[in-house]
Every structure is written in C-alpha cells, then in structure tokens.
C-alpha cells in the first residue's frame, strides 16, 4: 500500500509574508537593497515591506524604494508598509518622497 503522504498543515495565512528590511541602508548597501527587493517586483501577491528594523536610510536607499513602489503601482500591484520607523519616515518626508512611497506619515 502506498504511503499516504501526510498533508502538511496549511499555515494559517494571517499575514502576507513580508520582505523584511533591516539595518543601515546607506549608499554602500544600496545595491543589496535592490537585490532584496528584486524578486518581489513582479510578484503577483501583495507585497508587504516590513521596515521596523531599519536603522538608517539615505536618499539613495529611498530612491530604490520609490522606484520599486512605482513599478508595482504601474503594474496595478500593491505595496504596503508594516512598521515604518522615524529613521525612514523622517527622511522620506524631508525629501518629499513620502507620498510616492505611500509611507504613512509619522
């Protein structure tokens, strides 16, 4: 008798899996930021960006995020934010990018 494959318990999808952004995204790490986001650009499922662990981000980093968000919006796909720290929202506002990033104002 063939072994019955035990069904993997379906994880209760309470939250959509998030892309976690962590640490310091200064110019040196900007390439890795793009690399982290790249797989999700064309993802059909809604993308959640968890930025709660971002300690610092500069204009270049915000530029990458802006392009990411706009590209998805152009495709009619969504991006939402989870846990936006001031280290991200403050520079976003100072640079006039808060709206483009759809970042909730602090």
């Amino acid at each position: 008798m063939p072994q019955r494959r035990s069904a993997k318990p379906r994880p209760k999808a309470k939250r959509a899996p998030a892309i976690v952004l962590r640490g310091d995204y200064a110019l040196a790490r900007v390439e890795s930021l793009k690399a982290v986001l790249a797989p999700a650009v064309a993802r059909a499922a809604p993308v959640v960006l968890d930025a709660s662990a971002v300690t610092r981000i500069d204009t270049a980093g915000l530029q990458v995020l802006t392009v990411f968000v706009r590209e998805r919006q152009a495709q009619g796909r969504s991006v939402s934010w989870r846990g936006v720290p001031t280290s991200l929202s403050k520079p976003a506002q100072q640079l006039g990018l808060a709206a483009a990033l759809a970042v909730p104002l602090a």
Partner: protein
C-alpha cells in the same frame, strides 16, 4: 556615502570654538555708537555656521540656542534692533553659554540646562521687545511638511522673501558624497520649507543603477535670508548639480547680493561649510586633493613626533661627525665633505620643523580684550587696551607657558596700577587708562611687554613695607632697581585690601620663578605717577638649550648657560667653612655656598679636594657655586625628556646625547640648590 559622523565631531568642536572666538572678538570690536555692518554680519555668519554644524550632528540643544541667537543677530543685521550695551553684554553672555554647551557635549557631560534656558529666554525677550512698526506682517509659512523642523521667520515689517530653489543633481551626485536630506534639513532650519520631488527621470526597477541619482527637487523656502545663505547650503555640491535660486517678493532692505565680507573674515567662510554641508564631501575632497590650498590642520602629536625624530637626527649626525673626526686620516675626503653637507641639511631641517611649531602669540593675547573689559567693568575702571606685535611667533611649548604670567601682570596693572577715573582726572590724566601689550623678538628671545599709564610703583611704600617685614635692614640704602626688585619677594604686597583679583600674595614671586624656570627673566621699569612697564623675556623655544658642558669624574653634565654667572678656577684658600653655612666660596665680596656635585651624584672625582673649577650659578633666586672637575665646550643641545624615557629625578631637568654617543644629564639648578640646602640643614 553616508558615514559615521562621530569621526567628524572633533573638527566640528575645534572649528566651533574658533568661530566663537571670532564672534567674541567681533563683539568686542563693535563700537556701539556706530556699529559696523560687516562685524555684525561676521557675528551672524558664525552663529549660523555653528547652528548648521550642530544640526548636522543632531546636537539639538545647541541648534535651538544658536537659532535664537541667530534670530537676534538677524534683527541687528537688518537694523530692526539697535546694538546697545545690554544687548552687547547679552551676546557675550551667549558666547559663554555656547562655549559651555560645546564643552559639555564634547566631554559627554550634562550641560547646565537651567542656565541655557535662562539665557535663551533673555535673548528671546530682547527679540520680542523690539519696536514694532505699523506695517502688518503677512503670513510666512505655507503648509509646511509635517515632520520637517519648521520655524516661522521673524516677520518684522516686511514679509519674508520666498525663494524658489531648483536642484537638479547629476547622476554621480550620491557617490560624490552629497546628501540632499542633510541639505534640506539645513534649509528647513532657515525658514519654512516645502519640498517637492521630481520623479520624472526615474527608470524602471531593472534598469535602476542604485548609486546614481535620478531625482530632482523643487523647493520653496520662505525665509528672511539672502541668496548667499541658501547657496552656502549647497556649497559642496557645486559642480555635481544644476542649482537655480530665484527670489520672489523681495522687500526693500533684504539684499539679494551677498554682503561684502572683509578679507579677514572671508577666511571663516570656507571653513564654515565644511561642517555644515554634507561631511562625507570633506573626506572626498581631502582624498582627491581638492580644497583650499592655504593650510591644513595637523594634530599636535604629529608635530611633536616630528620634532622628536629630527632631534634624534641631530644627535645621530653629530655622532657621525664626531666619529669622522677621530678617524680623520683614515677616511676619504668625500666622507668629510658629505658629513659637512649632512650637518648643514639637518640644521636646516631642524630649523624648519621648529618653525612649524612656532605660532603667533596672538593665540595667547586674544583672550585679553575680553578679560580686560570684564575686569575693568568689575573694578570700576576705564581701560583702553592696545595690543601690538601679535604676529610675533614663538614655539608652542613657550606659548603654553607664557599665558599665566601675562594674565597676572595684566590683572595687577588694572587692579593696582591704573587708578579710578576720578583719581586720574584729579591728577590731570585722561579718565580712561591705557594698557599696552606688546610682543617682539629680541635676540634669540621673545619679549612681551605689559605697560600702563597708571600710578606706577611707589618706592617709599615698597621700602616701608619691606622694612616692616624685615626683608631689609632699617638703615640699608637701596638703588631704585633694588627697591623695585623687592616686589618680587614672596608674599609681598603693598595693597591694603586684597581684592579677589590680585594681591593675595600668590604673586609676582611665583610669576618670576615660573619665568626663570623657563630660562627667562622679567624686567621692570616704573615712574611714580606716570606708569609701569613689565617685560617678560623668554627663549624662543624650550626644545633646545644652550648649555655649558662640565665634567665631574667620568660623567658629563650640562648646565644651562643662562643660569651661569661666572666660572672660576679654584685657588688656594678660596674655599672656607663658615659656621652655620657650610662650605663657601668667596665671590664678588660675598660668600656663595659650594655644592660638591660629585657628592650629590655619587660620582668619583678626578681631582683633589681643593682642586677644580667653581661654576657660580643662579637658581630659584639663590646663588651657589658648583664644584666641578673641568669645563668642556659650550653647545646647543637637544633636550630629551627624562620623564617620558625614564622617570622624574630630582635635580635633573632632562638629558641629551652628546656627539660621542654618551648621555649627559641636564642639571635642574633650582632643584639642586634646594637639595643642597636640605642636606646642609640636616
């Protein structure tokens, strides 16, 4: 790229302290009757650049305080407030507060928040009480960005101008070290700022080169500043972007052309942006060798190391020369010529390096205008200070030590020398006394003169006091110089009441002793009723010494030439013993105590007990005769510190290495004389 900013704190503090000195100097120069617009501008710029720098580093308290100060200065600049004595005092007080705040942050100590708040409140009060005009102020702020630090510009009669700023970076903007975020932060500190980003050039995600800049911005700044202030924010980005600034609604009185900066203060302008603009740019600039060609900052330790190494070079070279002399015939001529050339080159190098360590005495003299002003005010005197020769240079080591004696002399002069205005008028002198500080080179020394046109020294009073203290016998007659010399006696003071400023007996004797320890001297001339003049004379450098080499047994010692009075051959009967004074030597009608160095240092003598040479020296105000075996040559020696290489030894002030490679200890005469006294009285 964004760097860890703490590495730039040091530069920020240094430059801010310097900037505060500039501000203080300008404030003191400000003639309240006819305030110089350039000086006020200078003061404004200083406050502005410190504010920018502190904002960059997130020192919020300093930023806030400086902003209030800047606002007040802006009112003065725009002539909406007049410079008065209370305002000038308040500004000086603010300089003190800022210094304290910077020091607190620098040393990571808490600052006196109450004092800061009090002084800031006083500044705000002055601003608030400025005379209002009937012209209605129009609203300044448009809907500001919420999280951006906003301040409504002080309105005055005219609405603040609106500036349209267009920033279009080129692609390498970020990698050239520019950070728009910081720039916008600085702009926002000037006034109400609206930022709108231009996303039209952004590529698709795949095509995005993350390190390139595709963004541009249009900004609207409503602030009572001139275009220069805005351009300054973008100074470091010049060449990396297209920047357009257009003013709208310029009221009369706000210049759109940059105000004329006098040449002296223009030097501050390039220094200021280095902390207020994106700092990574500073590093990029330094690395690419760009930047102002005029000067660079060098750490003091590097110069000291350089001096040390050059000192070693001098010693090595003299060893080689010594060696070549002993091998003279065995060596080809070229070697001797080569060594002679080497000696010349090294002398030149040594002189050059010593010049590097030479600093103008203005570093020390610059603190006096403020000190004199405060002191004069406190003592109810009117004093006009004239400083000349402030460009005279001296070695850093001497510079550090010359300040305290000068401070003491200046305090003495204002406290005791210069009379109160009524007294002066009664004596037919102008009510304002004059105090002069003058520095110049004199031979191989620097001479700093403190002179005043006050009451001068009163010989009778001095004599009376000296007699009452039993410093001199009741019948002894002294020459004028000797009388004046009495004021250098320990604890001597002719003042009836000591003020907390001077006259507490920590006095001129300490000053003279300190000056002597540095190998210098003090001259004094005075005319009763007309004034007094003190001149401090110090060697140009403490790193080398003119010394007399002496031999005791097999050991060599160096005696500082400046302390030697005379050297004499011992003759039969010139030594004797006096009860209560030990062994003495008859010298110029007096007896000087004899110090047998070989006993003190435990060295075997090469001569008989009554044979040898007496070197009469002076140390600590006392004379002594050093009994030595031989006098060797006189030479300039490089002083090596015994402290750092070994440890402290009483009676020895340092060491040097002679041409034959042996070490010679440099004698500390005051120490030796003290030691001898102790032993004699034991």
């Amino acid at each position: 790229m964004t760097l860890d900013l703490t590495q730039f704190h040091g530069v920020f503090f240094e430059e801010s302290f310097e900037a505060l000195d500039t501000m203080e100097a300008a404030l003191l120069k400000l003639d309240l009757g006819a305030p110089d617009a350039d000086l006020i501008n200078t003061i404004f710029r200083v406050a502005h650049s410190i504010k920018g720098g502190s904002a960059t580093f997130g020192f919020a308290d300093i930023t806030s305080f400086t902003h209030s100060l800047e606002t007040l200065l802006d009112e003065l600049r725009g002539q909406r407030l007049q410079v008065t004595q209370p305002i000038s005092n308040q500004l000086l007080k603010s300089v003190d507060v800022m210094r304290d705040m910077l020091r607190a942050v620098q040393s990571k100590q808490p600052m006196d928040a109450q004092r800061v708040a009090d002084v800031q409140f006083e500044v705000e009060l002055i601003i608030a009480q400025r005379p209002k005009t009937p012209a209605a102020a129009s609203a300044s702020a448009h809907a500001p960005q919420r999280a951006t630090p906003q301040r409504a510009t002080p309105q005055g009669e005219n609405p603040a101008p609106r500036w349209h700023i267009s920033l279009r970076p080129f692609a390498p903007f970020f990698s050239r070290g520019n950070d728009p975020q910081r720039m916008f932060e600085q702009l926002a500190a000037l006034g109400a700022l609206e930022v709108s980003a231009d996303l039209s050039a952004l590529p698709g995600f795949a095509a995005l080169e993350p390190q390139s800049c595709y963004l541009a911005w249009n900004l609207l700044l409503t602030a009572a500043v001139d275009e220069q202030a805005i351009r300054q924010v973008f100074d470091w980005a010049e060449g990396d972007c297209t920047l357009e600034i257009r003013a709208e609604n310029i009221p009369a009185g706000t210049a759109s052309t940059p105000p004329q900066i006098p040449a002296a203060t223009a030097l501050e302008a390039p220094a200021a942006p280095s902390t207020s603009a994106a700092l990574s740019q500073t590093e990029a600039q330094a690395m690419s060798g760009l930047g102002e060609a005029g000067s660079i900052r060098v750490g003091v330790e590097k110069i000291d190391e350089l001096m040390n190494t050059v000192g070693e070079l001098v010693i090595t070279q003299s060893m080689l020369t010594e060696l070549s002399r002993t091998l003279e015939s065995a060596l080809p001529e070229q070697i001797h010529l080569g060594l002679a050339q080497l000696e010349r080159n090294i002398r030149e190098l040594q002189e050059s390096v010593m010049r590097v360590r030479m600093l103008p005495i203005s570093f020390v003299l610059s603190r006096f205008p403020r000190m004199v002003r405060d002191l004069a005010q406190r003592l109810g005197k009117q004093v006009e200070l004239a400083i000349t020769g402030e460009t005279t240079e001296l070695d850093k080591t001497v510079l550090e030590k010359i300040g305290d004696p000068l401070v003491h002399l200046v305090r003495n002069s204002i406290d005791h020398g210069l009379e109160k205005p009524e007294v002066r008028r009664a004596a037919g002198k102008p009510a304002t006394g004059s105090l002069r500080l003058h520095a110049c080179h004199r031979g191989g020394n620097i001479a700093v003169e403190v002179s005043d046109d006050g009451a001068g020294l009163n010989a009778e009073k001095i004599l009376a006091k000296a007699r009452s203290r039993n410093l001199i016998g009741p019948q002894s007659s002294l020459s004028r110089e000797q009388v004046y010399d009495l004021i250098f006696s320990p604890g001597f003071s002719t003042v009836e009441q000591t003020t907390d400023v001077s006259g507490r007996g920590v006095g001129l004797d300490v000053v003279r002793r300190n000056v002597k320890e540095l190998g210098g001297s003090i001259e004094l001339t005075s005319e009763t009723g007309r004034g007094a003049k003190f001149v401090i004379i110090l060697p140009l450098t403490l790193a080398i010494l003119d010394g007399q080499s002496i031999a005791v047994g097999r050991e060599n010692y160096i005696v500082p030439l400046i302390s030697i009075i005379e050297s004499l051959q011992l003759t039969q009967g010139s030594l004797s013993r006096i009860a209560g004074r030990g062994e003495v030597f008859a010298f110029r009608g007096d007896y000087v105590p004899v110090i047998r160095l070989h006993e003190m240092f435990g060295v075997q003598r090469a001569r008989a007990a009554q044979d040898g040479i007496i070197v009469v020296v002076e140390g600590d105000g006392r004379r002594a005769g050093l009994l030595v075996d031989d006098l060797l040559g006189q030479q300039q020696v490089v002083i090596k510190s015994l402290d750092t290489n070994y440890g402290r030894v009483d009676g020895v002030s340092g060491a040097t290495i002679l041409g034959d490679g042996s070490v010679a200890l440099i004698l500390d005469l005051p120490g030796i004389i003290r030691r001898a006294n102790v032993r004699a009285n034991a």
